[in-house]
């Protein structure tokens, strides 16, 4: 006789139970997520297309540099030329909505995990599960709970994209040098001041790396989520696959890649330590050369801290 562990049945039963008894919860989530997605979508579609594109190019210039700004302009022009601009805006809406929610959940979770070993060890297996489970698997319950459309796509995306920001936030907090924490405490920080004045600012590069990865994962998931009607560039790719139309698929794929590069470079720029971007102003305007100041200035007698 053949015996199979009835795990699938069990999961099904749980999902059905939830659907029957927790529908109010899903309705509430749907309202919040749907509302946020509508808001972000409206904000992106409000300005004329050219203005939005100009804003993106401007951001690329301000955060990364003029070369990258040129690249951004060309990339957006290509997307326009392919006629994929509306889908791209839809995709951006999905990515931003999922990312915003993932960060709102993930950063506090990561901070808590970074400060407490117990929370860390409770979270770790869940994060492992979320990350290793094939992305498609999330689509089924998401579709069952929320039907087809934007909201289930965003939900599935959040689940898939959440782990990196949690992990890297926790890691960043844990990697704050012990001496800095001691310095914070020695100068009289409360626990909250220690968090906001020492730990988070010091962990910021790591946290931003997590944000970047979360955005990239969200983008990749959004394509998959088009299978449950999330729309955007994913649809283009999906249609290419369904019709075995290489050209169509390639165009959609290219647009996704271009969006990915733009999002990646721009968000990465926020993770750079400030010392790298700032010295030009700090050094040029105020400080004498380093040889001259270490000694002579220090040897002049001066009132201490009076």
């Amino acid at each position: 006789m053949k015996f199979e562990l009835p795990l699938g049945d069990l999961v099904e039963a749980v999902v059905e139970f939830l659907m029957r008894h927790a529908q109010w919860l899903f309705d509430a989530i749907e309202i919040v997520v749907g509302g946020l997605a509508d808001g972000i979508g409206a904000a992106l579609e409000f300005p004329p297309d050219v203005v939005l594109a100009g804003l993106i190019v401007g951001l690329a210039f301000y955060r990364v540099g003029w070369k990258f700004a040129v690249f951004a302009a060309v990339a957006l022009a290509v997307i326009f030329a392919l006629g994929l601009w509306p889908q791209t805006v839809d995709t951006l809406t999905l990515v931003l909505t999922a990312t915003v929610i993932a960060l709102i959940l993930g950063i506090p979770l990561g901070i808590a995990a970074g400060r407490s070993d117990r929370i860390e060890s409770a979270l770790r297996p869940m994060l492992d599960l979320m990350q290793t489970m094939p992305a498609f698997v999330y689509l089924i319950p998401a579709a069952m709970f929320f039907g087809l459309g934007t909201v289930p796509g965003v939900i599935a995306t959040i689940v898939f994209a959440l782990p990196p920001v949690v992990r890297l936030t926790s890691l960043g907090i844990r990697q704050v040098p012990e001496e800095l924490v001691e310095a914070g405490l020695a100068f009289g920080c409360t626990s909250r001041q220690l968090l906001f004045k020492v730990q988070i600012p010091t962990a910021l590069p790591s946290i931003m790396a997590g944000v970047n990865q979360t955005i990239m994962l969200a983008l990749s998931m959004v394509v998959i989520a088009s299978m449950i009607g999330a729309g955007g560039l994913g649809n283009q790719v999906l249609r290419g696959i369904q019709r075995l139309d290489i050209g169509l698929g390639f165009e959609g794929g290219l647009a996704v890649v271009l969006v990915a590069i733009l999002l990646d470079r721009i968000t990465q720029s926020f993770g750079k330590p400030r010392t790298k971007s700032a010295p030009m102003t700090a050094r040029g305007s105020t400080a004498p050369t380093s040889e001259s100041a270490d000694r002579p200035a220090a040897m002049q007698p001066a009132e201490p801290g009076a």
Binding site: P177, E179, L180, E182, A183, G184, L185, A186, F187, G188, C189, T190, Q193, K197, V198, P201, T202, L204, P273, R274, T275, A278, P279, A282, R283, S285, T286, A287, P288, S290, A293, D294, R295, P296, A297, A298, M299, Q300, P301, A302, E303, P304, G305, A306
Partner: protein
């Protein structure tokens, strides 16, 4: 002098069963034995000492001897297992969280081995860190931080990032940050150990200069004996969590408590520990200058005791000058009997203060034709250093 910090029976056990380890300690077991039996690490065992206000108290010992643990218990970055720490009459081991935070903001600050500057804050913001945490308004914060930076000579760098500064300059920022809230106590854990020797020497001078302008009570951790001797008013020597000796550098040098302490001092440059006062001898002829004491009497004394030079002081022991047999005779001949001792003084005699180190005296002793006179802070004659006495002092210390 008032006692600023009094530490009594202070212990720290790292581990989960400190009570058991304390019990074994009381029975006299060593740190290693206790670790072998219970897995508990003794950080500090039964530390007792008092630090005067305005004193630089240096804690010395090999790595792992418990110095950092000791100093971190003084501001309770590490919670003591037992004992009390009385600062300005208040036992800080019994303070509430709130009181402790107030103490750290107002009375104590700390300088760290690896500077521990906040990488996301500019130099002046780092200097203002303690003020910001304590809730000063932005204007007062900036002003006081700038003053502190000026005191360490870094005002022109206020807008830089810490990573743009050299190690020595970064530690000046660390010092400015510690001075900005004008604490009465400064805790410095190997504050200069990460610096190259030249910069380290400069920072030591800097610290002494700041201390001369404004006395603070400083607990300074070091594993470098030369540094300890240079800046410390008193030293505490730690071995395996215990304080084995406390005293002024020269006291410890002259009477080391055990071989561990002796081994510390083995390679020390003694000429920097011992002072002119330590090696001056009172075996010269002293002549008291008063109206009755004439040139002839002085000459007679020197001849009787077969000495070449006489050291002249007054009734209050203040040093006046040196006469020699030759100069006395010359004075007699010049004046036909009416001479006073002052007429016979050798020219260009400058006495050395008793607290000048032996190394600084060396050149003077070598050049001086007579044993070098030494005076104390009041100008009173302490003794004289001959070339022989100097060499003997050197020899004794080997």
């Amino acid at each position: 002098m008032t006692t600023k910090i009094a530490v009594r029976g202070l212990c720290k056990v790292f581990g989960t069963a400190p009570a058991k380890a304390l019990e074994l300690l009381r029975r006299g077991l060593s740190k290693e034995e206790i670790f072998a039996r219970t897995g508990q690490t003794i950080g500090v065992h039964d530390a007792n000492f008092e630090i005067e206000a305005g004193e630089i108290f240096v804690v010395m010992g090999l790595s792992g001897s418990g110095k950092s643990t000791l100093v971190r218990m003084l501001n309770r970055l590490i919670e003591p297992t037992a004992g009390e720490i009385v600062v300005d009459g208040r036992d800080i081991t019994r303070m509430s969280r709130r009181e402790l935070i107030e103490l750290r903001r107002r009375d104590m600050s700390m300088v760290f081995q690896n500077f521990a500057l906040m990488p996301h804050l500019r130099v002046w913001e780092n200097a203002a860190f303690g003020l910001e945490v304590a809730g000063f308004d932005p204007v007062a914060r900036r002003e006081r931080a700038m003053n502190a930076l000026e005191a360490v000579g870094l005002k022109p760098y206020a807008e830089c990032w810490p990573s743009e500064l050299s190690g020595g300059m970064q530690q000046r920022v660390g010092l400015a940050r510690a001075l900005a809230n004008e604490p009465s106590i400064l805790l410095m854990d190997e504050a200069f150990s990460a610096l190259d020797p030249l910069t380290r020497g400069e920072m030591q001078d800097e610290l002494l200069r700041l201390q001369a302008e404004h006395q603070r009570t400083i607990v300074f951790i070091s594993h470098d004996l030369d540094e300890a001797i240079r800046i410390g008013d008193r030293l505490a020597i730690m071995e395996g969590g215990r304080i084995v000796q406390i005293g002024r550098p020269d006291e410890i040098l002259k009477a080391p408590a055990n071989d561990y302490v002796r081994s510390f001092f083995r390679n020390v440059d003694l000429t920097r520990v011992l002072t002119a006062g330590d090696i001056a001898r009172r075996d010269q002829v002293t002549l008291v200058r008063h109206p009755g004491e004439g040139v002839r009497a002085a000459l007679r004394q020197l001849r009787e005791r077969d000495r070449e030079f006489g050291y002249v002081q007054d009734a209050r022991r203040r040093f006046h000058g040196i006469v020699s047999v030759e100069s006395l005779i010359a004075a007699l001949e010049r004046s036909n009997g009416g001479a006073s001792l002052a007429d016979a003084f050798l020219p260009d005699v400058t006495p050395v203060p008793s607290d000048v180190s032996m190394s600084e005296v060396l050149a003077l002793v070598a050049r001086s034709p007579y044993p070098l006179p030494v005076v104390d802070g009041n100008g009173a004659y302490v003794g004289a250093i001959s070339k022989t006495a100097y060499l003997e002092a050197l020899g004794r210390s080997r």
